[in-house]
């Protein structure tokens, strides 16, 4: 746990009720609804499905000092594969979402909830055993400007090919060998 006005902990199978009531979407925006529905209905299974454990899925929850759920983040190990069959181990930032009440807000100590969540993800990725490759990517809807800016602030600055015309795939930087 960290911070005077917030704390982070790993999620557990007992968090179902917390997640099913989590709201982060504008009901008029389809890609936001997609994120909210994933968190409410599927994120717990994503995190704790025993047959997916080899991907080391991690669910992180951020709370205010009074125990209110601020936001949710999740990541797991992933393998990216090129047509020539070359493979690259990476971490996929599965989701990061801030509760409606906290979007665009700062905590009393001045931090943005999204920055806390992203810092938690990067800290967690760095601490995994066995270690992950220092390569984190995210798939973000092209109209999700807040998330794209958040990713940039935390180093996901390189643009890769799009997995779908409406979604961007961005990754942490690499230095030419």
């Amino acid at each position: 746990m960290t911070g005077e006005s917030w704390r982070i902990r790993a999620g557990s199978p007992n968090d179902r009720e917390l997640l099913t009531s989590f709201a982060c979407a504008d009901p008029a925006v389809r890609w936001q609804i997609e994120v909210e529905q994933f968190i409410q209905a599927q994120l717990l299974e994503w995190a704790f499905e025993p047959l997916a454990a080899e991907g080391d899925p991690r669910l992180l929850l951020a709370f205010t000092a009074t125990g209110e759920l601020l936001g949710v983040a999740a990541h797991e190990r992933a393998i990216l594969q090129a047509a020539d069959r070359s493979q690259f181990h990476a971490t996929k930032l599965e989701v990061i979402a801030v509760g409606l009440k906290w979007q665009g807000q700062q905590l009393p100590t001045g931090e943005r909830p999204s920055d806390i969540l992203m810092s938690a993800v990067m800290t967690d990725v760095s601490a995994r055993v066995p270690p992950r490759d220092a390569r984190v990517f995210a798939i973000v809807h092209e109209d999700n400007h807040r998330s794209i800016a958040l990713c940039r602030r935390h180093g996901l600055s390189e643009e890769m090919s799009r997995p779908h015309p409406s979604y961007r795939r961005i990754v942490t930087p690499h230095r030419v060998r």
């Binding site: 810092s119 938690a120 984190v136 935390h154 015309p165 942490t172 230095r175």
Partner: protein, 209 residues
């Protein structure tokens, strides 16, 4: 003739594994699909065929002279089913892997199944035959149901060409092991071949368990 969505089989598998929430969710998706216009059209077209031909269609064999509308109805259902699978975190997980491709070689004991983007696998010829797909060019899919770290049940099923453009095909950024998410281009590979830079951590964070 009653026709049911193959999602019911997936729901039963999930129930067998003890995952009741996912089983119920997939069963609801199956019921929704079965009550939709695509299934209604398929039922009507099948009811107009002789029983034996209708059975063949369900087994994956389109009879000679079958109406184009029948192939279209099958494609529409396959597309909708694929969307449900891609959108569901359990059905798109590695435990539910589907390997679909075209038969490139037929040998005495096996056929070689090749995916459009490269990977290939051998399939016992009797399995391909049971799915009515054992000629070069035939489309076949293998559905694997992971039981534990070293065991899986693999079912060979007939496949059909859908060929929807990516703008129409369903996509979710949350699909686990989704080919669209994991496949990268040669330019991406050149980028990733560089040395990853250390991760940037803006705030010190301690994560409680």
């Amino acid at each position: 003739m009653n026709v049911f969505s193959s999602l019911n089989v997936a729901a039963a598998r999930l129930a067998r594994r003890g995952n009741s929430p996912a089983a119920e969710r997939v069963a609801r998706a199956a019921a929704s699909l079965e009550s939709g216009p695509e299934f209604a059209l398929l039922r009507r077209l099948l009811s107009e065929l002789p029983d034996q031909e209708a059975d063949q269609v369900i087994a994956g064999v389109l009879p000679e002279g079958a109406p184009d509308m029948l192939a279209g109805a099958l494609r529409a259902i396959a597309t909708r089913t694929g969307q449900v699978c891609a959108d569901d975190i359990i059905l798109s997980s590695p435990a539910e892997m589907i390997f679909a491709g075209r038969i490139a070689e037929v040998r005495e004991g096996y056929v070689l199944l090749v995916q459009a983007k490269g990977p290939s696998t051998m399939v016992p010829r009797w399995m391909a035959g049971a799915a009515h797909r054992e000629q070069v060019g035939d489309l076949l899919a293998l559905i694997s149901d992971k039981l534990d770290g070293a065991t899986a049940v693999v079912e060979a099923v007939p496949a059909i060409e859908i060929d929807d453009p990516p703008e129409i095909r369903g996509f979710t950024p949350f699909g686990r092991d989704d080919a669209q998410t994991r496949s990268i281009t040669a330019d991406d590979a050149r980028l990733l071949a560089g040395r990853p830079q250390p991760l940037r951590i803006l705030f010190p964070v301690t994560i409680g368990e």
